[in-house]
Symmetry: C2
Subunit: 311 residues, 2 copies
């Protein structure tokens, strides 16, 4: 029986797993530290694949941080792995292992996985948003993964919602990610603390959104207002996604989305206020991601299977 | 030989035309005043179709101002035709004429037409933007017209690019249309004139973007700055469309887009500045719409033919 290998490349770990032709439970699964900033990431990846390799493997799918080119399988420049610049990851692996290798970015792959195996099953128009260190998007439109001409579509976190807004991790200003990522929340708190707003929190360069969430849950009003602000801007962003894609389901993944009502109550209020037309909200499902840490791996699996079927 | 009837419903005119199975030159063509704000628009439409009806007609396609539901063929509420609120236009015509009737909004249909017959032929990922009284969008993604769950996707003019921006025709704030439509340009000029900026123009409630364009072409610095501002915001908007859709071609239609360099030089500068990643611009085609006033009609034709083929 033919097998597919799925790979999820993260900043801290590389995960590899092999699957039989229909299942979503891995036959074997292996996890190794990526040591992403040190040389030899590619060699460690090959060794990890070797550990689970079998002659039945007919395709490999990979979820990796971008930006990348899914059509040539090249990593353009991923912030976490400085060694990989214009690096032909998929062609190199394909040559080494003798099977087709398919690659796309982690947020697209998580969106694809939620559509095929998770919260979005049965929907035709889906917007997946992951909110953690960055804000990433994955879009299914008309039963197709949105990739675009250069394979760089669906970068929902880098939509400008206020040209005069704070800086984004990417260097531009006023992106969704500038307002609603974990670091954006921590930066806002630090700014407010430095402006002498009262809070149980102390200014700190390594302040995390998780610490802000703990303070908010304990009743800290500045921390609560930080999530209200995040939810407000997220509502503006999602109002735009509705006008643009008109999805039947919105799926939220990522650590920041775990905070619950602190974020989602102000989000929903802002969304209702900013939505271009109330009809977009009729029967719209707003759901949490179901696949957790496995989303990247399962998306890579789905990508490889889609490609096999298209051949 | 079977024929298809295409209809373009506008605020001032209704156009109907019939086409043979492959051609894009009408067999017959008829144009009548819509008298949109007076009762009887539907009856005038039926009479116009009767004038070109033949027993060979097997399908009807319609481009209409929205918002509308393309799946049920219902006009929700179009500002120009107050009589049509939740009006089942396609089902009514289908019952009357005994053939399938397909309906979508005018901007989607113009985008579809430019893709099938105009500037966008051969592209797989296309963003069409019409800039006139409003700003409308039509998107082809992965060789599919983007319609969405409620059929209200692709409303590119109602993307928020500054939550504190000026009001939009729709009542919300800071939409692309709030900055870059004809009325937005005229309103900006009136505001600046009322704030005593010098210009050859006089404040007037009916000032048009065409008058502002004439003044700009004659060297009026306020008029020039109005188009520079419009281009600036349009660059922000299009940077977002690139990050979201990653198209291979951008097509501009509508009267305001005819002004040329006055708008497009500042637009291109702003686009380069705001684009999330320069790779989006590699081999991106920026083109003018080719089909002019026929875009709606030809889009309606394409829609009806696509539906025939899908049956």
């Amino acid at each position: 029986m033919s097998q597919t290998i799925a790979i999820d490349i993260g900043g801290t770990h590389i995960r590899v797993a092999s699957y039989n032709s229909e299942g979503t439970s891995p036959v074997v699964h292996h996890r190794t530290r990526s040591h992403a900033t040190e040389p030899g990431v590619y060699d460690r990846l090959v060794q990890a694949i070797d550990k689970i390799w079998s002659p039945e493997v007919t395709a490999i799918g990979i979820a990796s941080p971008g930006p990348l080119d899914p059509y040539t399988g090249t990593i353009l420049a991923t912030p976490n792995i400085p060694e990989w610049r214009n690096f032909p990851l998929a062609p190199n692996l394909s040559k080494h292992f003798g099977v087709p290798v398919h690659l796309d970015n982690d947020a697209n792959m998580a969106g694809l996985a939620e559509w095929k195996f998770g919260a979005g099953k049965g929907h035709h128009d889906l917007v997946y948003l992951t909110i953690s260190t960055g804000v990433g998007g994955g879009v299914i439109s008309n039963d197709h993964l949105l990739q675009g001409f250069h394979g760089m579509g669906g970068e929902l976190g880098h939509m400008i919602i206020d040209p005069n807004g704070p800086p984004c991790g990417c260097g531009k200003n006023g992106h969704v990610e500038s307002f609603s990522s974990g670091p954006a929340i921590a930066r806002y708190i630090n700014e407010q603390l430095n402006a002498r707003r009262k809070s149980s929190l102390q200014p700190h360069p390594n302040l995390s959104a998780a610490q802000v969430a703990d303070a908010a849950l304990a009743g800290d009003s500045l921390a609560i207002s930080a999530f209200a602000r995040t939810g407000h801007y997220l509502g503006i962003a999602v109002a735009n996604y509705l006008a643009i894609f008109d999805p039947s389901i919105l799926i939220f993944g990522g650590g920041v989305a775990q905070v619950g009502d602190l974020l989602f109550k102000p989000f929903e209020e802002s969304l209702r206020k900013h939505t271009f037309h109330p009809h977009y909200l009729d029967n719209l499902v707003i759901a949490k991601a179901e696949l957790g840490d496995n989303a990247g791996l399962l998306g890579a699996l789905a990508l490889a299977r889609l490609a096999l079927r298209a051949e």
